[in-house]
Symmetry: C2
Amino acid sequence: MAVYTEVSDDDLKAFMAGYDLGEVVGCKGIAEGVENSNYLLQTATGPYILTLYERRVNPADLPFFMDLMEHLARSGIKCPVPIHAKDGKTLRTLCGRPAAIITFLNGMWPRRAEAWHCYELGVALAELHVAGRSFPHTRKNNLSLAGWHELFEKVGNTTEQVEQGLHGLIKHELDDLAKSWPQKLPSGVIHADLFPDNIFFMSQKCSGLIDFTFACTDFLAYDLAICMNAWCFEVDGALNITKASRLFAGYESVRPLEAIEKQALPVLARGGAMRFLLTRLYDWVNTPAGALVKPKDPREYLRKLKFHRGVTGSFAYGLA
Amino acid sequence: MAVYTEVSDDDLKAFMAGYDLGEVVGCKGIAEGVENSNYLLQTATGPYILTLYERRVNPADLPFFMDLMEHLARSGIKCPVPIHAKDGKTLRTLCGRPAAIITFLNGMWPRRAEAWHCYELGVALAELHVAGRSFPHTRKNNLSLAGWHELFEKVGNTTEQVEQGLHGLIKHELDDLAKSWPQKLPSGVIHADLFPDNIFFMSQKCSGLIDFTFACTDFLAYDLAICMNAWCFEVDGALNITKASRLFAGYESVRPLEAIEKQALPVLARGGAMRFLLTRLYDWVNTPAGALVKPKDPREYLRKLKFHRGVTGSFAYGLA
């Protein structure tokens, strides 16, 4: 649930004068995304999404995200594209923040993921990876090994508020991951945050992907591991093998995995669980009481991490 | 900031099958309204607002609100109208709550009220009062004298957390209001909650009124007093006489006030301040820490109440 920055009618009017989108007939803060302020903007030419990029996004990264959306859309991926203002720019300033207007994507994200969603997700993810091959820019993943260490230092001993012994567990696991993290795997543009609220469906088909603010250059199979973590676990913490199998089947229908990627999947899944465990821990201890955003429970990802530590091969995920 | 009930894609699909609005292409929770869950619904036939009525709304009152919007729209008032489902009903059930789809109203609410907004507001309010004359239904105002006493009992001594001595001040003021509250004034349908976020503007003109969930039958001039409190005070607590004069001028350009209404204005303004002081106190002490809604500061209305207690005639509001 977002909307951090309240955009006034006057500010919006001045901002919209820079675009050829027709008269604004409505602009409502929407409860989607937790990193940025998002508005559903209705104009004479249709609906759009207006995003104001908040604290966590590095402004220097924004051109990468804008260019990526344009590249992906040109390559046939269904995703929002930034609107060019009259001056040609896609990134401008509103209420002192970097801001962009992007096209409105039809569809709704699934509140309850089913196996068929996972198949469609796999297809969409692989198509994204294939389309990303020809994207000329790169962006380092700030939330990989080095970033995890930084986050771990920031949360410090507050981890013990969440679960006793968690500090030692993370330290041990980070050491392990540093030793076992793959050196070389097929790499390219990854979405890195393809949770259910970032993929839309209509009529039982994927209608598009949104929110590229974590997109970066990393191992493609790591993206798949993040998706498995986000989509294929039951509320009770158990892996749903059917969903995982469908996810991999969808993915491999477009881009077959190499043997080294399959072998690396358990460690990638541990790393993916660590990444969300750490960011959730950080938010858990840093979200003030009464904030408009409810921090997500880090323990969900602690359970997933523990699960993957017991996995010895990708067959445990239903992957042959 | 609302959205209490998360509507799933499956629930929405089943619900929308009851309407002739075309395929749903999007449904996003919007950060408007604090009493209900509101979604901006995009369908093949255009944008709509989907509302789920939450705890504070009495389901028995909903037909009054639905009929009122239809009556007002037929009388030329710009306001949303409820969409009739295939079965003819405007009120149905979604996620176990009463739910309605209403038309999307163009415009934006003013984040910073200026004098010209106040004039337009006055015109719109008077037009609403005139159009309401022919509305055949009535609804008792639950948030008048008797309702204030009930709220006061509910908040009890917790008032002292907000300001020392507040309990005694409210008790004394409620006694005073009971004695001085008008017995007879021109009455009819009032909006009763026409704050800036409930009136939209486009191109310097009022484009419509929304949110009739507090509408009821009461003194018309009481509605005007509520508007003066909501629109004509500066952040520092001072009345802006220019804004108040413009509000009254706009109102009287459509419906001139009677002498007894002008005389009653100071006590109506005190009552209006008491109503919002009490509901804000109630929310202040009853909103759990970490809730998605930030309760509004009751002290703002305490200051307004104190101001009106020092007023001896409507001339103090810039009303001749």
